[in-house]
């Protein structure tokens, strides 16, 4: 195992962390705003992958799929919002967990009806099909694209949250929703916007992941647990927490799989249990939590 091996693993870990980040950021801000737990977030990721595959087949372009699938997932999210999510806002975590758990089953079967039960692949665009030389190793260009995309979105969200008016409104509402509402911020509408953005990012993560992992009906459930671990470890409602949590879980799962085959998952669970017991607010919680 020479240096290039470790560089490869490092890049794999960063790439997986970026996918986790795209999924967890929506989940954590939604929770931070209204303490809403959306277990169906993983199902939206799965829908993103399947819709992306169909969109790529219909248009013949990966890039079109990369735009269309997240938008389609956002539409689905908006429909969900007006039919279910909005009603559940004050219903307590138990009911939210149960309804969104039910949604997992519904989406699972809808995808099986629509696309069948076989794994579907999506090929990376020709411009990203080869390998690139980075840090002295050959690495698939498409995976570098995932890393770059994740970093761009991370920076964009950071600037939005830290520097824009809507970012300030979101931060204020996460910190103290009642006070923000008193000051004239429409927390409900803000929640809707954040929910839609979370759906877009989940859908985007789905399309982006499809060429690497291929789409299966189990992908939504299997990504849900690592995403929840990221959210809890990082601290609910915080961007920095989602970034830190994604990197920690991404690196634990990737390096754990290499160094301690089979027990990588246990490492993540031990970390989750330790955080829940010793520091339940998470590593980098949003203020007010």
């Amino acid at each position: 195992m020479d240096a290039s091996f470790w560089i490869l693993q490092f890049l794999n870990a960063v790439q997986f962390s970026m996918l986790l980040f795209l999924l967890s950021i929506g989940l954590t801000v939604i929770f931070g705003l209204l303490h809403f737990i959306n277990l169906a977030h993983g199902a939206l990721y799965m829908l993103g992958a399947y819709i992306g595959i169909s969109a790529a087949a219909a248009t013949g372009s990966f890039w079109a799929a990369l735009i269309l699938a997240p938008l389609a997932v956002m539409l689905i999210g908006a429909v969900l919002y007006f039919t279910l999510i909005d009603r559940l806002r004050g219903a307590g975590p138990m009911n939210q967990v149960l309804v969104t758990f039910g949604l997992i089953f519904v989406f699972l079967d809808l995808v099986r009806m629509g696309w069948g039960d076989v794994a579907l692949g999506l090929s990376a665009p020709p411009s990203l099909a080869g390998t690139s030389e980075i840090l002295g190793v050959k690495y698939p260009a498409y995976r570098l694209f995932i890393i770059a995309l994740g970093l761009v979105i991370m920076a964009g969200l950071w600037i939005t949250l830290a520097r824009t008016q809507i970012g300030a409104m979101i931060r204020a509402s996460v910190e103290n929703g009642a006070m923000a509402a008193t000051l004239g911020i429409n927390v409900g509408r803000l929640f809707f916007i954040v929910f839609c953005l979370g759906c877009v990012l989940a859908g985007l993560a789905g399309v982006v992941a499809a060429p690497v992992t291929s789409a299966t009906t189990g992908m939504g459930i299997s990504i849900l647990i690592p995403t929840l671990i990221v959210v809890v470890i990082g601290g609910l409602g915080s961007l920095q927490g989602a970034i830190a949590g994604s990197l920690i879980v991404g690196f634990i799962e990737t390096f754990g799989a290499v160094l301690l085959p089979g027990f990588a998952a246990v490492l993540a669970y031990i970390l989750l249990a330790a955080i829940l017991v010793l520091r339940p607010q998470g590593l980098l919680p949003a203020r007010g939590h």
């Binding site: 219903a91 138990m94 809808l110 829940l276």
Partner: protein, 326 residues
């Protein structure tokens, strides 16, 4: 607070008698269904004790059941012990596991408790998934049933085993109902309704919760031994978190905090599964929509809803008002 109303006793007796009649009259397939119902019902009653009366929604109940099944296999298959002491050790192992989880997570509530139980359950799952000595992901076969030949009872007979499973359901229900009616059970409900007040009254709420989860895990352990003896083969799939999620659905459909509801939920869940599978293999969507409809209709579940219609008094606290902030 739990009340064993005459209506609940009646439903219990009629349901168990109905299942016994179904097993007696039906063929091998009917008996398999009755055993499947019995295992699920025991696990659901076990979950209802902590989720319905203590507000502790656990996603580790599948792991508790599986741990008991594996412990049974370790002692009976690997070490050659007789089935009865092996079974008791299996149930005890599950009880200790539950108490430990409850003790470690004693201060977490709500979604954090759910996540913590998920973590511990999945840890146990991964351990058995990787443990080659116990077959790893291939599972382990060659388990035996209780030998009651001395009493003239042949457990190898599917009807006998189905009736034995129903007796266990009755025993678990009676044990749960009895514990919930003691001071221990009332204190558990008290902690759920107002933890600060119970602490002010001098109750060690963390220890009390841990003991409640331990008791619930003992009952889940009974389901584990029954499951292991039923198919005489075990695999890590018993422990995976979706099993716990399924049990939670059964409890919610039947009626959280009613104790008898989970039994009805198990009957309906298993029958629906086999009925719907006859027409289509998309039965998940049916269960998903049923779950969503149940929660949107007030979350009382089937038995809770019926009880709600018939009761002139305000709805009993355990099943309704508390369920929302559980």
């Amino acid at each position: 607070m739990f009340r064993q109303t005459p209506a609940r006793s009646l439903v219990l007796i009629v349901t168990l008698a109905g299942l016994a009649a179904y097993a007696s009259a039906g063929g091998f397939f009917a008996r398999e269904i009755v055993i499947e119902i019995a295992i699920l019902a025991i696990l659901a009653i076990s979950l209802d004790v902590v989720a319905g009366f203590g507000g502790m929604v656990s996603l580790a109940h599948g792991a508790m059941m599986g741990l008991s099944a594996y412990t049974y296999a370790i002692f009976s298959v690997k070490l050659g012990w007789p089935p009865l002491p092996s079974a008791l050790l299996g149930v005890a192992a599950s009880g200790i596991f539950g108490t430990l989880i409850g003790w470690i997570t004693g201060r977490t509530t709500g979604i954090f408790f759910i996540m913590a139980t998920l973590a511990f359950g999945q840890m146990a799952y991964t351990v058995f998934f990787k443990w080659r000595w116990l077959g790893g992901d291939d599972g382990l076969g060659g388990l035996s049933r209780f030998d009651l030949g001395g009493l003239g009872i042949k457990m190898g007979n599917s009807l006998t085993f189905a009736l034995f499973a129903l007796v266990l359901v009755l025993a678990v229900y009676v044990a749960a109902a009895w514990v919930l009616r003691t001071a221990f059970g009332r204190t558990l409900t008290g902690i759920h309704v107002n933890e600060d007040r119970m602490r002010a009254l001098g109750v060690n709420t963390v220890m009390h919760r841990a003991q409640a989860l331990g008791f619930s895990a003992l009952l889940a352990g009974v389901a584990g031994v029954l499951a292991a003896q039923h198919v005489q083969y075990i695999s890590p799939e018993l422990l995976v978190w979706t099993v716990s999620g399924e049990v939670l659905i059964v409890v919610i459909l039947g009626g959280l905090g009613t104790l008898i509801g989970p039994l009805l939920g198990a009957v309906i869940f298993v029958l629906l599964k086999h009925e719907i599978s006859g027409y289509t293999n998309h039965w998940h969507i049916v269960i998903g929509l049923l779950l969503i409809a149940t929660v949107l209709a007030g979350g009382r579940g089937i038995y809770g809803q019926v009880e709600h219609w018939f009761s002139r008094r305000p709805p009993p606290p355990a099943g309704t008002a508390e369920a929302h902030d559980a």
